[in-house]
Amino acid sequence: MSDHEITLTINGESVTRSVEARTLLVHFIREDLSLTGTHIGCDTTSCGACTVLVNGKPVKSCTMFAVQAEGAEVETIESLAAAGKLHPLQEGFWEKHGLQCGYCTPGMIMSAKGFLAQNPNPTEDEIRHGISGNLCRCTGYNKIVEAIQYAAEKLQAAEGGE
């Protein structure tokens, strides 16, 4: 199995590492970079627990090789409260009780972040479809939808205020 040197930006920091060609991006993130906030919940690209942003778009990192992220900007859950303040999505999930066991939460939040970037003012139905690639077994989704609505409003208000 051939090894390759890759350079990419992860949460704003440039990293260079040698990886096996077959290394999945999720394993690279979790094991090589020790960023364990990104989780694995299935092996069929169904559950979305491993969702990260690659160049701003939500990607299921269990279905992408690390070498495919060469030169890319990758964002994981660990980047969101980097300045010590919770992101409006994190705030929304906390306020609205949008999480229980917390396992799907990082993927759900990253998926929502990518979705809101494309659709900053979504309807409830659009939110439900927007996160339909992310499975949650605990919450029944209603409170996740409320959490995303909370964040959308807060982000819109911040946008308007600038």
Partner: protein, 811 residues
Amino acid sequence: MPQLDDRTEHHSELAEGVSANVPTTDEVQIKTPAKICGMGHRKKRKEDPRFLQGKGNYVDDVKLPGMLYMDIVRSPYAHAKINSIDASAALEMDGVVAVITGEDLKAAGDLHWMPTLMSDTQMVLPIDKVVYYAQEVCAVIATSRYVAADAIEQVYVDYEPLDAVVDPFEAMQDKVIVRDDKEKKTNHIWHWEAGDKAATDAIFKDAATVVKEKLYIPRIHVSSIETCGMVANYNKAREHMQIYMTSQAPHAHRTVFALVSGLPEHKIQIISPDIGGGFGGKVPVYPGYVICAVASLVTGKPVKWIEDRSENLQADSFARDYHIEAEMAADKDGKITGLRVKTLSDCGAADAAANPSKFPAGLYSICTGSYDMKSAHIEVDGVYTTKPPGGVAYRCSFRVTEAVHMIERMTDIMAHEIGEDPADFRLKNFIRPDQFPYKSPTGWEYDSGNYEAALNKAMDMLDYRALRKEQAEKRARGELMGIGISSFTEVVGAGPSKDYDILGIKMFDSAEIRIHPTGKAMARFGTKSQGQGHETTYAQIVAEELGLPADDIEVEEGDTDTAPYGLGTYASRSTPTAGAAAVMAARKIKAKAKKIAAHLLEVGEDDLEWNIDRFQVKGSPDQAKTIQDIAFAAYTNHPQGMEAGLEAVDYYDPPNLTFPFGSYICVVDIDKGTGEVKVRRFVAVDDCGHIINPLIVEGQIHGGLTMGLAPALYEEIVYDENGQNLSGTFADYLLPTAVESPKWELGKTITPSPHHPIGAKGVGESPTVGAPPAIANAVVDALWHLGVRHVDIPITPEKVWKLLRANGVTD
């Protein structure tokens, strides 16, 4: 209340607030200010900041120096003889450290078999034959998970396929024997009965109406988003085994490991870190855990085993699989008089259900439900098939979901049969509030209930009578709309030690509270949250009792070295057992605090009264010592002759189970072209007694309802005739997404438990138990006029479409 007599003496003294007088209200009781945040406050969860920032610590996040990885070779056959296992090619691969087979486990002290929680036996790794598809055959230990995954492909197993037996009725004929390791060559495992057969038969003889139905509650899978896993770390120098494990019951698992392995129990530490959902699937001990621990013992290195989703969906965490034949009798006035039930429980290849020892069919005899009837008789037989062991709970208290589905379907069938509105029929047949404590015909003593209040509230919330009118108009136009009710009674909080144990260990639970000199506290429990929010609710219980702010109380669970012994979290037992233990431990502390306050204020104890967070002199409230003052004094200025410190531990043995209940109403529209069932509205009125945190209770109900919707409409583990699992990935086994999950409409009534010290009952599972029959009843209600009496869950578009086609509704 006769149950109170069963309390230990000190518990009787501490059980203030316990009474038989339990009027129903709908207001959440709040006694503490927001800064203390005791019971009733909608407190945001204390555990959330770490989860929101990706700083949770799940088993797969544990990384130890020199750690090895395990992967498992699994059987491609449901039933086959093993002629040989050749691992030589795997062992030659770079990075492969060891291969562990059944022979190796046998040599290590007969570890190739293990006991199940039901005192049956289950193979850890096979020597002669495999008995289910995806069964663990041997394990490879390697330096990386990729190498381990490569190496399992290089293990050559010579199988000789045998006939599979997938259908439990066929298994009862004993043509194919699943467990030929047993002395008795039969697939029949056990027979269990409850109720009075002769009295029930007599009632059926005299009944004005009898309805009969066959129901299948299919095999389903809990599918927590985190699969099962372990990191085992044996330290040879210390002869100490440290285990990180996805465990809902770490103490019980420690004892099982000690008994199975022969390692002394004080040399085993089980840490159940953050758990990514459990729902019963993380109660049993699966073969992978045992192999992983042995792998660490053998190699002397930490070994990690994390199941793939497809392994998880094919080999473990299965629930239900009950084949039910039920009959209900009613008199000429439409009063239910009796229930007669025969059930076949498909256990798979081992009886590894997670039930209390004396209850092979769990608490299934709760199946007379919310209805007052003269007599009932229940028979259940357990049978082996060549399927993986089943019988975990799927967010349910030991077979209560099967019981509730049956009684709620039968009640609806009876109402339709005699031409009564299903709501009116229920209101007529409910156990009345004045009948509590109610002795059921199968021997339960229901603690409290007010079923009509819950149903009336649900009916008001969606204007039930108007919906019936709408339905009639739509039916006249040929549209298919249905309204389904489920007025369920749950039974949770196992349980009183005289009846409830797992492998002999009584089902008490525990709490230990230590208050530090500066008035901050640590509280540890024998339970283990998997998302239920224990770090918040337990803190609120202690805050309520002691007046310490909930934010000043650190709650810890899951480490067997530090937490007091308990039986863990499942069957909605945490609040009924460990929650009560928290109250009792707090009251022990309060008793000591009162002595310290009397000393500090130089008054007699009898001159003091408690006020939220302080002891004050009666009639002179400005003379007071807060709990923080008292805590400081407990270490700096305690009375001569008194032990220093302010802490207590309590092992709570509940006097009875608790009986949460509720009424759900579901409105469905059925697409005549596709057979798709669309849930238009779903109103859920739950009564779980006193509420500790309304935000968390709502979250539990939402999640439970979606896990009730799932088996009603989508989920089923399907096997082909050879015993191959056809639902082995999330592409085949469909969990509801945000698109399928309806907007749940919640209501509540509050009827406290008379025997629980804070009147709470538990709530996590009620909605999973109550929701499926509401949905199924709605579908049948929409189709009854076409002659449809029953549809088995999951009610897929295909099933409905076929019914519509058979009845000429669609072509």
